[in-house]
Amino acid sequence: MPKTKSIKKNKKGYESCSGCGVCLLVCPQWRRTSSMSVTRKARARAMQAGVLPEEIASSIDACLVCGSCEPACPEEISITSMNIEQRIRLNRARSKYPSWYPVPLKKAFISDNSILRRSTIVLAGGSGLGQKTCEHIINLLGGSKKAGLAADDGRDIAALIEAGMVLDDERIKYFLNNLRYADTLVVAEGILHLPLREWLPGKKIKGFGEALMDIRAIRRSLGPEDMYIIESRGYHSDFERLVKYYDRLRHETGCQMNLDLQRIAIPTGASSLQARHNIETAGCLEHAKWIMKGRRVKRIVVEDFADIKVFQLITDIPVIHISGLI
């Protein structure tokens, strides 16, 4: 049985922040509000000056945990886990959680023997993919003998991690137990990529994008008139490898991507807890508008199913999920 621990410990903490502000340049919340207060930089500098998490609660709550700031940070501060740790500390100090916080599940844990021997397991998470799409994805990944769809997709764990709430070790054990024989996990919830890499070392953890783009026919159907929207959390959690992967993809297909000049994925935040509560107040529409500003494309292809709705609300350009490319 794999060992469980909540999430990766910080390499470096807020005390190492130089205040350079590079993280701010890539932060969707800063881009939307132009307010320094909501940024990682502001939180780190304030904490360096002895400010308590309660005093910066609104900033901690504003974070979409998109992970964009982490690969941008020249001090290599493990910012995503730092953001979550701040939520953990804040949760301890506050009496009332925000309305978008998840309610811990009280359901029985599922043992899923049907997928136990599959080499590829798909964790569709809270992505909202319908049964048919999931079956199509399984077929694309080699058919039901090779790939299986996990009934326990760990979406509750993902939500608890994001909110900085206590993880139940028993729950995680059950969750991982179903995955123990697979070689590859295709995980929709980007926020689970990093912990899964820690919990199950040696397994390949991929997002939908990478898993499906490995299929030549899908890659071939992308072209210069497509706007390809990378799911940001998974991408940033394995940035050094994936930045090269997506660069090759961009070069090969000529498609446009939601990458900024630093090659950081600009997120819509559609999968954040805040957006699951309300995509407008979470700023998703503004983020999507910024992504599309000045772009001349004929189709939008998204990795994260939740992005479909966001782009449909701001543009007439057809929006499809990557699995719909063939």
Partner: protein, 517 residues
């Protein structure tokens, strides 16, 4: 300037003139914090005027220092303006209640110029909209709090680029126009301040004024390179050009003087689109040259390349290997060079920033490397600027000072093309005696994971600045401008004239106090 040998028990005279740091102790250049008289009346006035002011500890603490990390000060409150009108109301009230106002963009200064020692901090980064990209006039109109990164992001979607900007994406347009803004293409295109075609400025008394070289030209000349003394830049129209990836070449030298001569040769002959010197250690010096087009590169290869006295990487590597074989006790130095070569140079050619052997988004590439390898909680970057003839001596003297204080340091040298003798250059980073191209050198110790006292760092800076006084140079403003040196390096007549202009423009002397005056 020579520091005399000190006899035991004898305290030598302070090398900084006693009147240059009034009320400020020798090693500590931070001014005393403003006491806060009339602050509450000021706040009430602004609130009544509809200007939002933040006073929470968590808000103010974010701005307690600048990139230098040596000067610390807390504002009493922050205004994050949404418009020039917000700033106008703020400055009018500040004049009435005599509240100091410090303008801040990216806060990349290193001498505390963007730190508020009490009073109000104007966080300009909230004004960051691109207003118009005009491909007919090849200009962009933007709010001045915008970071160069955001501006580049917008321009690139139209296949455009700005001309020259700091190799640092977290600098703001307004902060840069006020300081200079030097790029590796500045020997050809000039500094960022010279790319400004028109500005909107809020004067220290709160008037919103449009200016250019034809409309209110005096204000334009005062505000550009003016360290925020004569107004807050709220909008800027800047020249732009078509975006192009660049090809970069390196030449390696073991003599600083030869590298400088070659740099000056390239700049004078306009042989490359970009050029600059970056040292690893005293005997490993890189001259980088780059080109916007294949034609320019071809021309360089045909006409100028053979005149370069630097080596290619392999040739230089062999020479260095031989040198260290003969000087085996210096093997640590060799390891440092190899380490630097293996870590820093690949940053300049990461595949995701390369296409067909060309660097795409060079500013991102350089900026990332600058922060990664030179950034930190403390940064000390004193600099000198000189006319061509004095430059090599200034750099060599500065290099000797670096050697005295630090084990590892980097020198970064680059030129700035001048646009004749404009009034804006007076008391700026452009030395008074320079013509055609001025040169600057930044002296940057590697402070990462090192523990130096503030006094050590301050003494180092003073010794570099003293070279400026001794040789009649100016300061490039990468590393800022120490107030204490203003009167020492510029003639009294010039400083007094500027002080009189400042007093007239800013009767209560509230805007960016204690930076220059």
């Amino acid at each position: 300037m020579k520091i005399p040998i000190i006899e035991r028990g004898f305290i030598p005279p302070d090398p900084v003139a006693p009147d240059s740091l009034k009320g400020i102790p020798r090693q500590q250049t931070n001014p005393v914090r403003w006491k806060g008289d009339s602050w509450q009346d000021f706040v009430d006035h602004l609130k009544a005027d509809g200007v939002i002011i933040r006073q929470e500890r968590s808000e103010c603490a974010v701005f307690d220092t600048d990139s230098g990390g040596l000067a610390y000060g807390l504002p009493h409150g922050i205004v994050r303006p949404n418009s020039a009108e917000d700033i106008s109301k703020t400055l009018k009230a500040a004049q009435t209640y005599k509240v100091p106002v410090t303008t801040r963009g990216g806060g990349l200064t290193t001498e505390g110029e963007s730190v508020a020692f009490g009073g109000l901090l104007l966080d300009m980064t909230s004004m960051n909209n691109v207003l118009e990209i005009n491909q007919e006039t090849m200009t962009v109109r933007t709010e001045a709090g915008i970071f160069w990164h955001q501006l580049a992001e917008m321009l690139r979607r139209d296949g455009m680029d700005y001309l020259s900007a700091p190799l640092n994406l977290t600098a703001s347009v307004g902060g840069t126009l006020g300081v200079g803004g030097i790029d590796v293409n500045s020997p050809r295109l000039g500094c960022s301040a010279d790319q400004a075609v028109a500005l909107q400025v809020v004067t220290p008394t709160g008037e919103i004024v449009e200016c250019s070289e034809t409309e209110n030209p005096e204000l334009m000349e005062r505000v550009l390179l003016g360290y925020g003394q004569f107004g807050v830049i709220t909008e800027a129209t800047l020249k732009i050009r078509k975006f192009s990836p660049i090809t970069m070449k390196y030449f390696y030298y073991s003599s600083l003087r030869t590298a400088i001569e070659d740099l000056q040769f390239i700049a004078k002959e306009d042989a490359a689109d970009y050029c600059g010197i970056l040292t690893i250690i005293d005997r490993a010096i890189t001259l980088l040259v780059a080109f916007d087009s294949d034609e320019r590169e071809k021309e360089f290869n045909e006409r100028w390349r053979k005149k370069m006295r630097g080596h290619g990487e392999i040739g230089f590597g062999i020479r260095m290997a031989l040198h260290y074989l003969l000087h085996p006790w210096r093997f640590k130095e060799a390891l440092y060079i190899i380490g630097r070569r293996l870590t820093l140079f690949p940053e300049f050619s990461r595949t995701e920033f390369m296409r067909d052997n060309k660097i795409v988004d060079r500013t991102v590439v350089f900026s990332r490397a600058v922060w990664k390898y030179w950034g930190g909680r403390q940064m000390v970057i004193p600099d000198l600027s000189a006319k061509a003839e004095k430059f090599a001596e200034a750099v060599e003297r500065g290099n000797a000072v670096c050697r005295k204080y630090f084990k590892y340091y980097t020198l970064y040298c680059v030129g700035i093309k001048l646009r004749g003798r404009l009034p804006r250059y007076e008391m700026s980073c452009i030395p008074a005696d320079a013509s055609d191209i001025a040169y600057g050198c930044e002296f940057e110790p590697m402070l990462k994971d090192m523990d130096y006292s503030r006094d050590h760092l301050q003494a180092f800076k003073n010794e570099i600045y003293d070279i400026g006084v001794d040789m009649g140079l100016s300061y490039y403003r990468f590393g800022g401008m120490m107030k204490g040196y203003i009167r020492r390096v510029f003639p009294d007549e010039v400083v007094d004239r500027h002080l009189a202009m400042k007093r007239e423009a800013d009767p209560a002397m509230i805007l960016n106090p204690d930076v220059i005056f």
